[in-house]
Amino acid sequence: MKRCFLLFALAVFGFSAFAADIFNILDKPWDEGTELLIKWDLSSVIDSIHISRADSAGVLGIVHVSRDAKGEFTEGKLQPDTTYVYSLIAFLRSPKTSDHVYLSKTDGSALIVTSRQFTNLPDTLKTTLTIDSSPKYVSILKAEGFPTRDWFNRKKLPLLFLLLVLSTGILVFIVLAHRGTDLFIRRINGLDAMDEAIGRATEKGKPILFVPGIGELDDIQTIASLSILSHLAYKAAEYNTNLIVPCKTSMVLSAAREVVKESYLRAGRPDAFRNEQVFYLTDDQFGYVAGIDGIMIREEPAANFFLGTFYAESLILAETGFGTGAIQTAGTAQAHQLPFFVVSCDYTLIGEELYAASAYLSRDPQQLGSLKGCDFGKIVLISMIVIGVIFEISGSTWFTSMLNMVE
């Protein structure tokens, strides 16, 4: 009796371990609990498999069809923390004489397994099959899955690590700067020339045009542009030169107006500020450009500033501005538009220089600190590239693939 039970237990254990080997459903790790990973591993005599999922009423619906004997697929859009029942139906292709069909007996039906799985089976579960002329042998397996919500996405671990390193670097330098450490920043060409351009405009008695780009206010480039505007508006107020700021969206308009107004206040000339200096044109890309072109031709500003996000309009603006003989300073992190600015403007802030500008101009220690922090980040990244390349050359890819965990 005891022996009998042991045998039975062994058989059950052996079978369940081996069933999991053939048809297995796993919770997809590190997600919000809407996906399951379904794996199967069957003998190569399989013609095709159907995987179905039972809905709440228990009715099966096919979710995946494959011709591969071994494979996996991810099912998404599931409810988290719910048990799902899947069934796998395998169809046998008409066996050739050379095929070895390995079968395992279960309650009534038989399973098609690989030879490896077959060797590992307890003898009680092994069975033989006489291949008959009707090749549609079917085996059915059931398995359950339970998608869970996770609290941390481990795939993003390297990302988190890098984020911490970079932001700590920036924060440390901000704190240092706050404590009064002297921080050196090298010259940035276009920025030194800004004051000169304003001076020229004052001499000529012509206005200054500032274009904050076509980005919305939620674009960091636009914000960087506005902090440069704050500096320029201050200078313009000091020199008593007219400043014109056409905006593409109303959010930028409100922000730009505040910025200019505040700068005039700081320069002690709140009376010189008029609301119409900063105005909205249109939300349309080329409509906006048409409007600015008109302003450039008619008002003939002596200095143009194009700072922020720019797309195709960059060259239209820069060339029209050139035609009026203005000193032009441009700056954008839009890599594809940089060539046009470089070619037709007097000074161009390339990429990061746009973000560095406000720190450079204001000499505000906290801003300088963050700029220093970014420089520290550059060193970190350059070293990472060098290390990565060295590892790759030496034939080991773990470093790159570790970072690549981020999907």
Binding site: L159, L162, D284, A290, G294, H336, V389, I393
Partner: protein, 212 residues
Amino acid sequence: MLQFMNVFGIWLGVFFTFSIFSFLYKDNPFYKLSEQIFVGLSAGYWFIYTIYYVMIPNLFSKLIGDFNANAILLIPGFLGLLMLLRIIPKLQWISRYPLSLVIATTAGVSIVLSLQTNIMQQITATMFNPFAAETTSQMIGGLLLIIGTICGIYFFYFSKKQEGLSAIPSKIGIWFLMLSFGASFGYTVMARISLLIGRLDFLLKDWLHLIK
């Protein structure tokens, strides 16, 4: 009527095409006219577009359709209304709240996003073995890619005066930038000329019927 309106439409298009082109010669009443029509019309267009394609499907129809399920949309609706308070000078300060919500979120999102796509993916893409390339030119290319990227990043290193030894990588960085600017410029010429061809096509085909 239909026939007339079609022809009239083409003539309208032709008129505005030439008005904009006339700007290339110099500013003139035709350009001024089309400029202001463009500004006005496009502002109106985006206004209507926002109402029909943003506000109605995302806010109003959801609120009307199933209020309870979408009641949370009242929050952005309310914040939006706060934005409108800008019109009243005394209440301007209130609009700062939606504004800082928007900007804070963007700041958070852009930190993660630029870290992932612009830093992580770019640096891992640069980590490869250039010597594994099949041809010599591919190998040199790979080396150029790695060196160019590193020197290019160094060009943006602001903490050091660019003189002496430390000026060398940053100089190489500039060379790469210039090369890239030249290439992008040349590459874009084609696309820009096709825009002109597209316009000329309209004039020659739809208007003058000179070509098929």
